[in-house]
Symmetry: C2
Amino acid sequence: MDPRRLLIFRAVARAGSISAAARELGWTQPAVSQHLRTLERSTGCALLLRSATGVQLTEPGRVLLSRADALAVQLHLAEEELADLTSLRRGRVRLAAYPSAAATLVPRAVAGLRERHPDVDVELTEAEPPQALALVAAGDVDLALVFSYDDPPAELEWRPLGVEPVALVVGGEHWAATRGRLTLGDLAEEPWVVGCERCRAHAVRVCAEAGFEPTVRHVSDDYVVVQNLVAVGLGVTLLPRSALEAYRHPSVAVRDHPSYGTRRFGLVHREGADSVPATAALVRELSA
Amino acid sequence: MDPRRLLIFRAVARAGSISAAARELGWTQPAVSQHLRTLERSTGCALLLRSATGVQLTEPGRVLLSRADALAVQLHLAEEELADLTSLRRGRVRLAAYPSAAATLVPRAVAGLRERHPDVDVELTEAEPPQALALVAAGDVDLALVFSYDDPPAELEWRPLGVEPVALVVGGEHWAATRGRLTLGDLAEEPWVVGCERCRAHAVRVCAEAGFEPTVRHVSDDYVVVQNLVAVGLGVTLLPRSALEAYRHPSVAVRDHPSYGTRRFGLVHREGADSVPATAALVRELSA
DNA sequence: GTGCTTTACGAATACCGTAACGATC
DNA sequence: GATCGTTACGGTATTCGTAAAGCAC
């Protein structure tokens, strides 16, 4: 049974005549008449009795009308709900982000989104880029904010958001001892503190370019932990700017230099996922 | 929003891929793909994300799916209920019938219908033909069992069911007094008992053909009342056979003769009403 | 006459299938 | 290579409008 014909039948039943329904639908009378004939043929029984004054429902017609009403309600609800989602009157986005972004960029974007669209909810999952990519692939999040020290992997489709410098972070005594003229080479013999896999690889590469292989003494993803280790003199480290923006230990010294490299960050989502209005809105906020 | 596309979308969501849905629907893949594209275009947001392994719903897609499910349920219920009505697993017919038929023909037909289709209900309204016709016209009953002494009115579309003779009914003494060779002319001076408007007209016409105008003393629609009046000698009357079949007073005498005329009976319904299965079934029972 | 209905028929358009192609496992 | 997806395009079938006609108030 064609649901469109059910709706046409409903229009006729409610209007009381085929002509009136045709006027409401913006059609001609015969068009509506034909649909009714087809519907009655497919159901095998008379749904309405025609007369010069209009139509009157038969018992099957009355039964069918109540179903048609329910169907129309569902269709209307579907349209309403979709309209709510497209106009951002409601919605949900699941975002994965690495820790230092989750502490800086993300809260600002979420606040901006919330201000403009209070009923669009963001669900944040903190995850390092590899895991974040897996979450996207598995469909567990809609959007992932990830970083890359190198050029972004060629195979990965991502939306670049920005570049941040990597800084050298040392204990205050180092700074004092070198009278502020610290070079990477001065730290060849120091113990190093490194973070995640990719951060460690970056540190090793940067050191190699300075002519030595760093001795990794401590490993922690957590930029607060890392800075505390550095602050008490247990090692030195490289940290991206956003980590230092998120948290800055009072007694570490920070130095910038092009040779420390940069870190790119950007957004990853499944193909087409940015056509979901709530996701697109969060992308816009994060891009701003 | 085209409800058919909602159902197609539902098929895809449930099957997990466009190809699988196309196989279920007996269509080709591009056909389904095009419908989805149209649906997404009309809603303005992505409903599902395509990949080489199939499709995955977006948030709007999940919302829409639940509406599509509800819609499919209603459509299925509509089909079920209509099928029940057409196959006479349920239904209702409203019948108007004149008293003597309501006492004879109708109970047999209703019993037959009930035996074959226990859940098809008949609602009987006792009504003389003119009122029965009005009930049909107003849509208050589906079917009317009516009679006519003359040829059925030309303007009326009816389904003839049969003809019954009209009998002369007199008190036993008349019968004895005339030694069973009673003629209508013998009763010219008797008081007459007549029933409804049309029965009275018939009686007057029959008497006129016999050469006299009857003196109407008593008037009653009720064939039990009429026979009791006749039985105690308060008058004579003409009654159709069905009234005598419904009730026969033990001490009245009944005589048949072509000159008493006949009464035709048949069914009236609105144009097309016999396309309602339950009505058609009752028509069949009454015609048997 | 004015309103309701229907049928018949032609033209526009919606729809499905075929063919060709790209991406992923 | 098998299976997923898409786009492009053509023929068929649906579907709507027009025209003509029948009925009831």
